[in-house]
Assembly symmetry: C2
Homo-oligomer: 382 residues x 2
């Protein structure tokens, strides 16, 4: 069974004056409209969302969305894999179609966060990891700082190479009308921004964001009825790494990225050399380096060099985060993994506008926690 994507949408990301239900309904209804699929045809609805209860005091949002979009009596379920909830939703949507349980599955990912203070939001996010770590201040940004320091030292990489990730992703975001920050930044600005977790500075971090994105999945024979052009899910995989981050053998390697991408490569019959464009989980700039290496795109310890050489820019041989990435586009937790594949669909179908590149195979890597669980999705054109 080949699982296809026949519709994709995303809302504007940023500070939105809308609650979670409105954000989800906006992306969901646009996705249905664009694909020409009637609400009654949807059999399963999956909602990727980490924490609507914690952020908004509202649970049951998948039932609400089924109601709001007129999908009843479609089955509805919320999928949580923390910051990789979107990727987990894609994996679940794939399973729903491939198992025959559904012939039309709508996946909507979303999160509303900006109405809470940064302290409140990071409290919820910190609780993804083990209390033995976060209760002593080892939150995700702290891990990122420690990892960055280790990486720069081990591979003799200049601090500026991390800044170049931010500069590149901001440059891409300028051409994404849905991005939270559509603003050019320079290496100098990034290097002078306030320190958050030494050696990482403000511009090494993605923002807190509201937003939603949606994808519509069905078997290929159904896709042909609805669309002349669609995208195939060639491979998808997911894997965990130690929940206690300090128990990992190598602090500059993400086991979940390696394992989940291996599954996706094998299923799709592709290797890293076949990937034309990729959306990586640049919650922190250092994560783009780790993923470039652990996905097999470049040798271990060489991501900083590939970045400095411009290979990951839009006109390079390995364009990364043409959407602007989490860094410039924003990171509404449950939406991010879905929005990654929204970008790939645009690239494969040639509808990405000024940020388009020539691509037949795309890869998305969505990281939960600090690599605690990772999903990788490979999509291909028809």
């Amino acid at each position: 069974m080949t699982v296809c994507i026949i519709g994709a949408s995303m809302t504007d990301f940023g500070q939105r004056d809308a609650w979670i239900r409105e954000l989800l309904a906006e992306a969901g209804s646009e996705c249905l409209d664009r694909s020409g699929v009637a609400p009654e045809a949807v059999e399963h609805l999956l909602v990727s969302n980490m924490a609507s209860g914690e952020f908004e005091g509202q649970t049951g949002i998948m039932n609400a969305l089924a109601h709001d979009l007129g999908l009843l009596p479609a089955y509805a379920e919320r999928v949580d894999q923390t910051s990789a909830s979107g990727g987990a939703g894609i994996y679940s949507a794939w399973q729903s179609i491939a198992s025959g349980a559904s012939e039309m599955t709508l996946l909507v990912g979303g999160e509303r966060m900006t109405h809470r203070s940064t302290a409140e939001a990071t409290d919820v996010i910190a609780s993804i990891t083990h209390p033995v770590e976060y209760k002593h201040g080892l939150t995700l940004p702290s891990f990122a700082g420690l990892t960055a320091r280790r990486y720069l030292h081990r591979y003799d990489a200049p601090r500026e190479s991390l800044a170049r990730v931010a500069v590149k992703n901001h440059a891409n975001g300028i051409d994404n009308p849905h991005a939270q920050f559509r603003k050019e930044i320079t290496v100098e600005e990034a290097m002078e921004s306030p320190i958050v977790a030494d050696p990482l500075r403000l511009y090494d971090f993605c923002p807190i964001t509201d937003g939603s994105a949606a994808l519509l999945f069905c078997p290929e024979e159904v896709a042909k009825e609805y669309a002349e052009e669609y995208v195939r899910v060639a491979g998808v995989g997911g894997a965990t790494d130690t929940h206690v981050v300090h128990e990992r053998g190598d602090p500059t390697t993400m086991g979940g990225v390696r394992e989940s991408s291996q599954q996706a490569y094998e299923q799709g019959g592709y290797g890293p050399e076949d990937v034309d464009v990729a959306e990586l989980h640049d919650m922190f700039t250092i994560l783009e380096f780790l993923q470039l290496e652990d996905l097999g795109f470049v040798e271990k310890g060489r991501a900083w060099k590939a970045t400095e050489e411009g290979r990951t820019e839009r006109d390079g041989d390995l364009p990364i985060n043409t959407s602007g990435g989490l860094k410039s586009k924003g990171h509404p937790l449950g939406a991010s993994g879905v929005a990654q594949v929204y970008e790939l669909v645009g690239q494969l179908l040639g509808t990405a506008g000024p940020r388009g590149v020539d691509a037949e195979v795309g890869l998305a890597c969505n990281v939960g926690g600090f690599g605690n669980c990772v999903t990788t999705t490979i999509v291909e054109g028809t």
Copy 2:
């Protein structure tokens, strides 16, 4: 592909001096031990849980559990369908196996609630439904009261018939070593207990509970390698009803129960007349009546009569909630749907001890919200 269950376990339900991670690990490790499956063989881990973030300030519990049980690098995901999270986990586990994504999926459902006040717990639970209702006091118990009043009036049923549901389920719970309340109650006691939502009284409601339950799924050819006796998942379905409860056409019918059971019956090639034993979602006594009718076990308006005639007792022709049901066993939200099927596995394999009945086909109905989303699972012996 036939999906089978080769392991089942549950913890003691009740007020537990353990946090959510310990509860999940207790059920998960016992399930693996009993089935003789090594942790490394598990490919997917699903955790059915509604609100660990809201109840305990802890997220990422699926990653923590994968770590605690030694399952790495198994994929991990949290499944939320409010009070039907367990049933949704079963549906998702079925999809993971039937799609070929996993050859061994461990499902662990659990919730810790008793450390919060009843007011705090019911606040979280109230937010399952639409704010247009719960902000005006129409919480789940209120809906149950209104529905009960309507039912008793419409079908000229005596108030005592509802009490008999509680009496029966308590009688069954006495023989369940894991039940929260192992205590006989009488119709008189139930009728004299304090009013909660008129005409429903305290003994018409399930308690607030801590607990966890687990099931292990695999394809039949794998099941044969591990177990001489196992259970097949014959059918599973899920469906939504209106999120705003007052928009439903008939207040004494649950559309999600009808639709989800129809799917499960069709998939399994069974009808209601083939079901030998069932676990229904008796969060409120009135719900057992609605499910008895909407599942097709008895004619509309006749569940109260069937109950008064003793047909749903353990020695009746349609034994319901041999486990004690949510009423006596307890209702740790994410665990309940999983524990329902734990009970059915025991009934089909003949390991239910003194509460055993003669059964080849069992059905579990797990209700989310006030019927906002419902899953039905049918299992059969080999």
